[in-house]
Each structure stands twice: as C-alpha cells, then as structure tokens.
Amino acid sequence: MAISKKELFELLKSGFPDGEIKIDDLAGDNNHYAANIKSSKFKNKTKVQQHQMVYASLKGKMGNELHALALTTEEK
C-alpha cells in the first residue's frame, strides 16, 4: 500500500496541467506525503471543492494505496 513520489506527481500533473506542484515524502515510506498545488483550476472553488478536485485526480488511490496526503491548495 504505497505510491511512489513520481507516480503521485504524474497523477497530480495530469489533473492540474498548469499546476505548480510541490511534494514532500514526510516519512520516507512512500505512504505519507505533503503536497502543495497552485493551479488556476481552483479559481472560485471552495477549499472543500479544491481538495475534492485533487482527490479526484488521484483516481481512488487516496485512502487506499495512499494513506496520508497533507494537502494545501492555492489559486494561481
């Protein structure tokens, strides 16, 4: 139950092609990450909607293969 940083980045990038994406592997175990995403797609969305969009880009992996993703989202 883990996902590589590269795979995580690619999933996020495909969801947010204009995104500035920063990922930290918090525990070094491919299972606890922090991500910061800046994208124009977040414009006029609530925080809940922004995070839902990120989770959607992870195609069901969040809460399954990926245990923990501390998330911050910003409009670009």
Partner: protein, 103 residues
Amino acid sequence: MATINKKIKDIINKNNVVLFMKGTAEMPQCGFSMTVSNILKKLNVKFIDIDVLADPEIRQGIKDFSNWPTIPQLYIKGEFIGGCDIAKEMYENGELKKKINFI
C-alpha cells in the same frame, strides 16, 4: 446505502459540531483525527465524536456521503467543513472560530 445516509444526516442535523474520527476524542487512534479533535478542544466547543472504527458501515458511508476519501471529517451545523488540512488552516486563520461563534 439509503439507511446509512439517513443515519449520517440525522447525526449531523441533530448535533451542531460532529467529528467523524478514528478512535474517540479521549483516545484518538490516528494523528490526523487527534489534530482536529485537539483543535475543537482548544476552541472550547462541545462536539460529538463518532468513532468510524467502531462501525464499518459509517466508515465507508461517511466517505460516500461527503465525497471525501479520508477520515477525519468535520461537520458544523450540517455543513461539511473538511478534513484535517482544512480544519487546521481554518483554525490558524481564525475562520473556524468565527463559524463556531455563530452556533
């Protein structure tokens, strides 16, 4: 599915502040759940803690209900506030306190 949705709706409509979490406010079983539970304690607000580990139906049901893949999940006045990251952000920028003052 319909029953569990109704059960969740009842819980969030009957209680001003509800935290769906792993473990209880007294004994959280996950760091993210503990973070949100501690925030609510610091804000001195009365809240109901629902331990999803004690009820697999609620554990999956709340994820579907909120369209949110992770636990914890915070509800205030029937409104989904978010998970740990959003609760933390709103605590730090004072928005959460404002919401709670409105109760």
